[in-house]
Amino acid sequence: MASTKTPTSSRPGRSLLVLVLIFVALGATAAIQGATSVRLGLDLRGGTSVTLQPRSANGVAGKVTSASIDQAVSIIRQRVNSLGVAESEVTSTGTGTNRQIVISVPGDTGRRIVELVGQTAELRFRQVLVEGSAGVAATPTATPAPTASATPSPSAKKGKSAPHAAATASPTSSATPSASTTPTPTPATTSTLPPGVTPDLVAKYNALDCTQAINRQGGGGDDPNAPLVACDRTGSSKYILAKAEVLGSQVSGASAVLDQQGGGGWMVLLNFNGDGTRAFANVTSRVVSLSAPQNQVSIVLDGLVVSAPRIISAITAGSAQITGNFTQTDASDLANVLKYGALPLAFDRGEVQQVSATLGSDQLHAGLLAGGIGLFLVLLYSMLYYRGLGLVSVGSLAIAGSLTYLMTLVLGKTIGFTLTLAGIAGLIVSIGITADSFIVFFERLRDEVREGKSLRSAVETGWVRARHTIIVADAVSLIASVLLYFFAVGGVRGFAFTLGLTTLIDLLIVFTFTKPLVTILVRTKFYGGGHLLSGLSAKHLGMKIPVVRAAGTAQSSVQEA
């Protein structure tokens, strides 16, 4: 038997060489890229992730198309980058129009991120038609109209009840002090409807309760060509507004500046383009002569009124200010949002997750510990059951482990793969699947030996059969992970990715390491001779007659059995 070499008899050296080459290539790639550590997901190191789900809406935020999602991603990316947080990421997951936008920012800037990326930032300038207090008041109440002008007014800064806002040609122009605060009656009665206000709008207006936070969520998608019933951002007043006359797309620049005259408050300075300048000049010159509140022009961001300054003189210089008790951060965030333009889509906030650094490291440690224990148990079991062959599984799993590690390093650099908790779970689960390939092979090998083959030929024939099983079984695993990856969202994808990756690695290891190693090992005296501890001993296989290296004897032993 020793002389007969089956044609399938492999060249174990060559296979092992392939594996070594793969290792060297991966190691070199990782070294060149400077990838030294695995990129961890936010759930393992702390940070905030926001998942946005595109939603079709009327108005500017139109239909969900692949191009509009791409555009939204790049706008959001600019906004996030304006924060200057290192390693923040904006990606879209999924395919075609069926995509979500995932924003991940490490560290603890959570709240700002959520505010920054959630805004559609649809900026509109609308003439105020009716203004009133926030609640669903049945009786007319008087609220002070916001003081508005470029000149400082001492009363303007206090309290959120009077959103201080100004829109003028330049901070220095206009000399009229804003002493007059005219009380505005509310609710609107149908008898004294200003032009452009329909009973329909009045009904909506009266029903709107701006003291409820749910009504102050904002969100884009208001039709610029229709009147709007809207709340003030702070919930202090509500408005009926005319159709939009200047749009955010007509803004050419925005910056946060310190209001020199306003006693140190921050504001956002807007510059209009040509169209915007003309449109803004038109609306301001038209309303300036009207009575309050119709001489106010509201600045509406995502369906909420940021401020509604009274226009004192027509503004033709093509710039405006937005003020409103901003901090420096608020002002610069708003300026950034306006500068980079409105998102082409409206979004639902799918999920906001904020993980503290402590929980992150806890989860990482728990994941690693679980993996360690799982691996140890698997190794222990295969050593107990397969004895010497168990060493082969130990070796194979070790190789598979280091290969997986190298791959995560390289993929982290090349395709931005990050390891999440679900990914770690995928890795741990794959220990079982990988080890099972060895079991299939070993059991086949032992079956062949039981049928009276010599060890050497049993390795080859057993391998041919086991190979088929392993390929089909791993193919099913791969199909599962690929489909999961494309259909699923969030954590499931991380899981699917690692599962698919390790299945491929499993195939590679079985072909280039486990099988060649067994081929080499059965040539040794320990394994080939069926040593008691080799896992191939006759006693271990439950055979009555010992397996001997000479094939003829083994053959006859079965004939007798």
Partner: protein
């Protein structure tokens, strides 16, 4: 361990044989009962969906001396109107879950909790899920499931045969139904991690079934040419021959999962790891059961209806008295070894082995 090894050898030679196929009606009835119970549990109890599916928010504070009362007081002080579930995790962590709330409200609750427990706001782990998000991921998971089943049927039909594909899928659906039923019955929380677990079960269950079917296919190749054994008998032999592997595989798959479950539940209390491993743990058990007791018997049932296989069964029955005993082996277990060894091993099993291994014949010639 070597006792398992020698059992493996006996199973392989057919000296010891558990009759999984012959008593299939019993297993069908058992599985049917389980599925019925699952359906009733699902209908009456429903699944405990996590906030990821129904929308809502969750806040965790980790600090020694946290109390449910203090947390509830803090949430109440914000005036946010929503249902609140508060629970402690371990001794130093408290978790507050609310219904759907706005971002603003979530910030209020965060601030209130931070103030109440005197911790930095950023150390509060927060998750806010929009109301439509859950429906979205549920739909996606369903599409994934349907796509997966479809592709797998196609793949197994090509790699094996359509009847094997159908049997495998029935076994998978069986596993899913029972796992979901157990979740409804016990009232475990269903989170995205649980869904990951369910989907993995599909893979595992199929993987296990594939290994058994590969052996069935090998054993039944060229079966109709002779009259040695029926399809059911050949399939049963395959199940027995792969039994040791099934046991080993299940043990090895369960070990890491058990360690995730242990570490996840023990160290972290709740979360991705626990949810995932629990689903896997339950699913693996049903998966192993189904590949032995459901998938292969169904496959045998499907094949036994073919005219060729029925003819084969008649030939086998007609061939000598031994077949009576072979059929009677319904109750075969380890103690029947002697009977089986004399009756079937000598003729049936040996013959099959020989036919399937042409290489061995060539060796004999030497």
């Amino acid at each position: 361990m070597s006792r398992l090894g020698s059992l493996g050898a006996k199973l392989h030679r057919g000296e010891v044989s558990f009759d999984f196929i012959g008593s299939r009606r019993r297993w069908y009835a058992f599985s049917g009962l389980l599925i019925l119970v699952s359906a009733i549990a699902l209908g009456t109890q429903g699944l405990h969906l996590g906030i990821e599916f129904k929308g809502g928010a969750s806040f965790s504070v980790k600090k020694a001396g946290v109390s449910i009362a203090a947390a509830e007081k803090a949430v109440a002080s914000t005036g946010v109107k929503t249902e609140v579930i508060t629970q402690t995790v371990g001794t130093d962590k408290i978790m507050v879950q609310t219904g759907v709330i706005t971002n603003l409200e979530s910030e209020k609750i965060q601030d209130a909790l931070a103030k109440e427990f005197n911790v930095n706001r950023d150390t509060i782990d927060t998750q806010v899920v929009g109301p439509s998000w859950g429906a979205d991921i549920t739909h996606k998971a369903l599409y994934g499931l349907i796509g997966f089943l479809f592709v797998v049927v196609l793949f197994l039909s090509l790699a094996f045969e359509p009847k094997m594909a159908i049997s495998a899928i029935i076994a998978v659906v069986h596993d899913l139904l029972i796992t979901v039923g157990i979740y409804a019955l016990v009232g475990f929380d269903v989170t995205p991690a649980t869904v990951i677990g369910f989907l993995t079960i599909l893979g595992y269950s199929l993987y296990d079934t594939v290994v058994v079917f590969d052996k069935v296919r090998e054993n039944t190749r060229g079966l109709t040419g002779g009259s040695r054994m029926t399809y059911s008998q050949a399939a049963n032999l395959a199940v027995n021959q792969t039994l040791i592997r099934s046991i080993n595989t299940s043990v090895i798959a369960l070990l890491p999962v058990a360690s995730i479950l242990f570490v996840g539940a023990g160290l972290l209390g709740a979360g991705t790891l626990k949810d995932l491993s629990l689903a896997l743990f339950v699913g693996l058990a049903t998966g192993t059961y189904s590949s032995i007791f459901v998938a292969t018997p169904i496959l045998a049932s499907l094949h036994e209806r073919e005219p060729a296989m029925q003819a084969l069964a008649r030939r086998v029955a007609a061939k000598g008295n031994g077949s009576n005993k072979a059929n009677a082996s319904d109750k075969a277990n380890v103690s029947d070894t002697e009977v089986l060894a004399t009756v079937s091993v000598g003729s049936v099993d040996r013959g099959v082995t020989k036919r399937n291994q042409p290489k061995r014949k060539s060796k004999k010639r030497r």
